[in-house]
Amino acid sequence: MLAAILASGLAVGAVYALIGVTYNVMFSASRVMSFTSGQLGMLGGVLGAMFIARLGLPSLLGLAATLACCAAVGVLTEIVAVRPVLKSLEQHLYVLSTLALALMIQQVTAIEWSTEPQPFPRLFGIGDGGPTDEKFWLPLLACAVVVVGLELLYRRTLVGRAFLAIAEDNFAARALGLPERNLRMASYALAGVIGGLAGFASGQLLLAFFANGSMLNFYGFVPVALGGMGNNRGAIASGLALGVFQQAANFLVGGVFASVAVFTVFIVVLLVAPQGLMGSPSVRRV
């Protein structure tokens, strides 16, 4: 029983964490919370199923095609829903523009793909549905790959440092000659890849279903708020904890009460630490 709760809790938590990181990567580059993050996760599952199960591509090629498409959707988000509203960030118009794009993505998927969940193909054929099944550890593996990849990117590469620079202070970064707009687009493409990977890795668990987008938008935002805006480590830790807590609550109180339990904890944590558990309080110079 404990093994089952831990396996599914950590798997779902890893997906929430990755969607949280997707939010963060977009936020760092533009100070915009883009509500297309969950839809990127949904697209990862749907496109993966389409490329591999319907079009018959080999798994690796299917993964590459899925990530490329999700990166393109990330760039599209930047061009269509973010760039036009950047000049008036304080009006929070991005909430409307990104939500509108997210809804469009969801509706197009429902029309062109299916309104019913579709199966996602088995990738390795390991496990028989129990706690050691690939559907449970693949999201964790994807999470580990993203953590290591982002660490290497941000700490060891010039482009990664440039990302950090615009995240830290984009005026100063621009003054130093960094191509802020291109870097922002690259960040959105990177976010698309991370979101797509989350959906692809969890395809067997969540199925290729158009309605997963809004669910992931919702639960993926919780680790961002709990971990602190822009804090990837916080998002990963909070996401995993959220998944395990949610599954434990499912077992103990069940059904709709599990969601109530999750959001009760969420509100309590934010009351105690409004900046998130791992975020630092914002300081305003006077």
């Binding site: 599914s8 019913e116 199966p119 668990l205 969540l206 077992f251």
Partner: protein, 396 residues
Amino acid sequence: MTITRRGFALGSAGALVAAQGLARPALAQGEPIRIGWLAALTGPSSAPGIGFDRGVHYAVEAINAAGGVKGRKIELVVRDTQGDPTKAVNAVQDMISRARVHAVWGPTNSGESLATTPIMARAKMPNVHPCFVDSLIDPAKYPNAFRMAPSNSQIDNAVSDYCIKNLGLKSLAVVGDTTGYGTTTVTSSTAAIAKRGGNVVYKGTIDPTQPDVTPDMLRMRNAGAQAIVVWSVSPGLCARLMNTRATMGWDVPLVGHPTMGSGEVGKLIAAPKNWEKTYILGFRNCSFGADGKLPAHVQSFVDGTKGKIQLDDTILWWVLDGVDAINLIARAVQEAGGTDPAKMVAYWDTVTKYPGLYATYSWSKTEHNGLPDSDIVMSEANSQRLGAYKLAPGYT
């Protein structure tokens, strides 16, 4: 004789009245019988509408090809409601006031019907529909509305009876999805089980997008459930319940909503054996017996319409119910001697054991639920062929 202006005016008026009196029966005899068909033919809940539509068109063509009803051809007035109650209300108002239909078949889902039934009652429009919600049928409030499908209470009773009487299992878990339908049906099903002496050891709802239902099923097993009654229209949730049951090695029957027998569930189960021991609501006339055949009159219809009605991508009862609806409206016109709404309703009030394809219908002045309980059975979920299912164990 001098013709005065007054005499001429009176004579003309008299001639006009006489001419109208003569012309009216001739016009009514040649006038087509206009049947309004409120169908959800597009949109997310269109699958039943498309199935019903095939039966409706087949029946209309068959009657017209045979010369119509007393020489009057049937004309369908179809409006696609897209499953939207607002569109259904507009469509029914248009049918009543502009298209001037003589009877209406539909809508085919309860949400729409809840909105249109009072409108049709005010217009005294003869109406047959296949919607399940109990409150849609009330001969005092809606004397013009007749049901050609089971009510929710009949469905609850059939499922409870099957678990308790046929399978001999009394400790039951009742689960539904978190939609309005799932939540309300869990409550009504629990009451039906308790009424029959069953013991609901677990009752709950599950979000259709919940990725893993292991915690919920562990709770059901720990509560001592011998069977799980499932009320969900989500193929994803149904398939997850079946897959998790197999992973847990829990040999417990799943009984309930027909979604568990849909082709979408078949795509989502991890192995064909996960689909076994799952029983869904079905209908005796649309079920294969032990000999692999449907009841004789239905089998002969299916054989006779091969190539004319596509059955492999729909559910047989939807098609047959569509055929029966048109036949019952045509029969009402025939028995009433025309399209007078009061006379058509009066005929339906006397229908006793009408041998339809989908069911044997009976209505009376005080009972407008047409299906007898004996026509409602359970079927094996994994046995779909030509839109019909095999009878579940325990029936002869």
